[in-house]
């Protein structure tokens, strides 16, 4: 039986008014239901509030209205069951070696150094960073830094991974490699993944389902498109182009029409 893991129901969010600035209603009646183990891509025009959705799911923000539940329990604040991979490398702890970055969550749980390093090594192996344990983040390339972030969140064994355009700042080559490795990691670990992107190709390559957000402000989830292409996918996979066009048309309509 398919379990509903994360459910957002009629979630709204607005940025509070500052002097001279009207409150901006970012989300209005945003609803989505994620099943356990699925790879969900959230796609939408820039400024539509994708990151706000992720921050709400992570518990960094509180919804102004509506409910957000994880496995039936309301989300209150950040938790180790939903760990975030950030777009920028500024989320890494630059004073810690790679292995201690990965072991950070385990250290917070009070695990001994020996044990947490052993676990961290396993995850470094999973993201193909063997031999990089003792480097500092500043000594790693952009792609390697994102691998450290992925290993770091996996080490805490969360229920789901929240990824905010994690490959957005990488060059095309690295990006392509990271995409296929992420699918590999997803298959091996069985985690539920929410992946934010504004790149249709990326969404079609990765996702089980693609959710397209409507144009902001007051955006919500418009269409949800199941991507039933066989894996592993490439751009040349039959049906890829059609799927891309389909989603692109939805977004273009959205941008032309504005919100309703």
């Amino acid at each position: 039986m398919i379990e509903e893991l994360l459910v957002a129901r009629d979630v709204s969010y607005q940025y509070t008014a500052r002097r001279g600035v009207e409150p901006v209603s970012v989300l209005r009646r945003f609803s989505v239901s994620l099943t356990e183990g699925e790879f969900f891509c959230l796609l939408g025009p820039s400024g539509c509030g994708k990151t706000t959705v992720l921050n709400l799911m992570a518990g960094f923000l509180e919804p102004a209205g509506g409910t957000l539940t994880l496995a039936g329990r309301p989300i209150r604040g950040p938790g180790v069951d939903r760990t975030v991979v950030f777009q920028g490398d500024d989320a890494l702890f630059n004073w810690l070696r790679t292995i201690d970055n990965v072991a950070f969550g385990l250290r917070m749980q009070g695990m001994s150094k020996e044990r947490r390093h052993a676990v961290a090594r396993e995850y470094l192996h999973l993201v193909h960073l063997d031999g990089q344990e003792n480097k500092y983040p500043g000594e790693l390339s952009g792609g390697m830094k994102q691998r450290v972030q992925i290993a770091r969140v996996l080490a805490s064994d969360p229920k789901m991974l929240l990824m905010d355009e994690p490959f957005g700042a990488l060059d095309a080559q690295t990006r392509g490699r990271m995409q296929s490795e992420l699918v590999e990691i997803w298959r091996k670990t069985g985690k539920t993944i929410v992946f934010i992107t504004h790149d249709i190709t990326e969404a079609v390559l990765l996702a089980d389902r693609v959710g397209v957000m409507t144009k902001g402000p007051e955006s919500r989830l418009g269409a949800i498109i199941p991507v039933d292409l066989p894996r592993p996918r490439r751009r040349s996979t039959p049906g890829f182009g059609e799927m891309w066009e389909h989603i692109n048309a939805l977004i273009e309509n959205e941008e032309a029409a504005g919100h309703d």
Partner: protein, 276 residues
């Protein structure tokens, strides 16, 4: 002495690229320029002093050197140097030890900031020397007032730098820590503190420079020992050579202290971020 060995065919000498790891390659162009620059200043000093001034108005380097040797042999110089350094070190360390934790807490906890901010914003514009007389009245003319003045100077520089450091922490770091299970105290100890450390150390480095300036002023006004006293008291006897000894000592000590501090940072805290 520092002659560059002739290039071997298998390893051509590359003078333009600094190679700091090789013990012999270390003494290269930059160091020669440094030495030449120092020597040039001394020559310039000599030329100007002997051409335009009487020695008692502007003593040339050799006269100052001779006086310095006399003062070293009599023990007078080291006495002044030691007492000034002790005051600087005590004030600087006490000030940093107070300012760093307070600055961290002010940066991390809004209510602590709200409580202390008015004092900080007000008193940082009051120079330490303005306090000299009240402090001497309250604490006498011993070591306490001089050290307190340096503590005062140090506190604001280190505290403000520390606060800036805390406010510069990328929000993503704290968010990452939170979703990896760090509570507020753990986030403070394992993220805020190490992330702010480069700023704390930079503040301390700046504060040390200011401590040198402050101790001299304090010793000029209210002391009977120390380099400031030496410099100011020598004016009574028109002993310009002694004044110059004081000046040279100050520059050399400040430079050495700064280099030493920078060495400690590079040696023990390099991973916290580059300090220049």
């Amino acid at each position: 002495m520092t002659e560059v060995s002739p290039a071997r065919p298998d390893r051509p000498a590359d003078v333009s690229t600094p190679a700091p790891r090789l013990p012999l390659g270390w003494i290269k162009r930059d160091h020669l320029i440094y030495l030449a620059s120092v020597a040039g200043l001394i020559v310039l000093w000599h030329v100007i002093a002997t051409t335009f001034f009487k020695p008692q108005f502007f003593p040339p380097p050799l006269v100052v050197l001779a006086t310095g040797r006399e003062m070293l042999e009599s023990g007078e110089l080291m006495e002044h140097v030691n007492i000034s350094l002790q005051r600087i070190l005590a004030g600087f360390l006490i000030g940093s030890a107070i300012a760093a934790p307070v600055g961290l807490l002010m940066g991390y906890i809004p209510i602590v900031r709200a409580i202390f901010d008015p004092y900080v914003q007000f008193f940082r514009f009051v120079p330490s020397l303005a306090w000299l007389t009240p402090v001497v009245i309250w604490f006498g003319i011993g070591e306490t007032p001089k050290i307190l003045i340096i503590v005062y100077t140090t506190i604001f520089i280190v505290l403000i730098n520390t606060m800036v450091g805390v406010s510069h922490i990328a929000p993503n770091k704290l968010r990452a820590a939170a979703c990896l299970g760090a509570g507020p105290i753990q986030a403070f100890l394992f993220v805020t503190l190490p992330a702010a450390l480069p700023f704390i150390l930079t503040g301390m480095r700046l504060a040390m420079g200011n401590s040198f300036a402050t101790v001299i002023s304090a010793e000029m006004i209210a002391a009977d020992s120390g380099l400031g006293y030496l410099i100011f008291n020598s004016r009574l006897w028109m002993a310009t050579d002694k004044i110059f000894i004081g000046i040279v000592c100050l520059g050399a000590l400040g430079l050495t202290a700064d280099r030493f501090f920078r060495y400690l940072i590079v040696r023990f805290a390099h991973q916290y971020g580059p300090i220049e």
